[in-house]
Symmetry: C2
Subunit: 224 residues, 2 copies
């Protein structure tokens, strides 16, 4: 369940937004003014912020600018209709989306869903994962996770696996893999690739992926 922070001064709108979101399984936190807003945001650490740009006295852009120095929490700006300048500024100051009042609740929910989806793997920054069947492959650490098992890959194994993963269901030639691994600068034994493939296969086998990498003799390998 995602936490959404609503920053908005008009009570009616707050309540309406909150009701819509809570009905759709979001947790909401309301902030009625900008006093100490930045600290509160960082303290609460919401998954997304709905920010009204027209709160009097202080403007939303300043808050957004300051927030962006500290965090990439996604922000959807809520603007009055026809305020194109606001719109332009919001984007260039780092808003992830904006929506104009009055808004259709379904559209709002879709936009929130879309922003959450596209930022999920990105803002919570270090989750750089590829998925393969039931596996998660952590690109940074070179770890494959399945259920509660973890397998560590060496650098070579990582390179091969992510290359295959990015070409899933396509045949990858041995030469492709060779140049990916060794940049054809230094000479290495042809067999070095075979050995590395073999080692990767053994690790995959340990977690039940026995025939994941298939040999297409004379052509290359394919990850199924």
């Amino acid at each position: 369940m995602s936490k959404i922070m609503i920053i908005e001064d008009e009570e009616l709108i707050c309540n309406e937004l909150s009701r819509i979101l809570e009905n759709n399984n979001y947790e909401t936190i309301i902030l009625r003014d900008f006093k100490n807003a930045l600290n509160k945001i960082l303290e609460v650490s919401p998954d997304l912020i709905l920010l009204d740009i027209n709160i009097p006295f202080i403007n939303g852009e300043t808050l957004l600018q300051n927030l962006r120095k500290e965090s990439n929490i996604p922000v959807i700006m809520v603007t009055s209709i026809n305020s194109e300048i606001d719109e332009a500024l919001s984007i260039s100051y780092g808003a992830d989306d904006y929506i104009t009042k009055p808004y259709n609740p379904n559209i709002l929910l879709l936009r929130i869903g879309a922003v959450l989806k596209r930022t999920k793997t990105n803002y919570n920054i270090n989750v750089n994962e590829l998925t393969y069947r039931e596996l998660k492959f952590d690109l940074q650490k070179g770890i494959i996770k399945k259920d509660n098992t973890e397998i560590e890959l060496t650098k070579n194994e990582m390179i091969i696996f992510s290359y295959l993963l990015n070409h899933q269901n396509k045949i990858v030639t041995r030469e492709e893999l060779m140049t990916t691994l060794w940049d054809n600068s230094e000479y290495v034994n042809e067999n070095a690739l075979t050995v590395n493939i073999s080692r990767l296969r053994n690790k995959l086998k340990e977690i039940g992926y026995d025939n994941a990498i298939d040999t297409r003799k004379g052509l290359g390998y394919i990850l199924l």
Copy 2:
């Protein structure tokens, strides 16, 4: 320079869009109908697609749905005003943004810029590179490239560097780095982190990034 494909049947709009984009340093490719559109997209491999949802006979959503099976090239839907249903569907079918006609050229450009920025590192799948100043950091291989120099990072150095990179200009605590590196399962000497930071700094220094990682005593590190 980014390539933008315009899929739109009205000639006037095509030309106008094309002019605006070319004036702003984008290369444009125009597709006036959906005949074979998917193949053409994959062949041209544009960096972004502007897709008119109202082309007669076939609808844009179908194309988008099919495209999404093959590729994550970012798509901005162009819709007629007030077609909220289209809007909703576009997002749920995988559009990255949409814009309503008539559009303000500056807003259009900003949105294009924003979409390109946020998808740059993500959609073109095998180019898994992060950029830091004049450096390119290849996440798969753990190689930092600057001009024609290459520096190899070890796994630990990769983890630290990409963590810092993903939190650029933000202070990262030593504890964060410790748990990122060692998952706090096994005990390691506090100093192990210091040593690894030191090794990473030495490598960065070799290519002229002397004070890239700054110590904030008592707080952590920050990548400038």
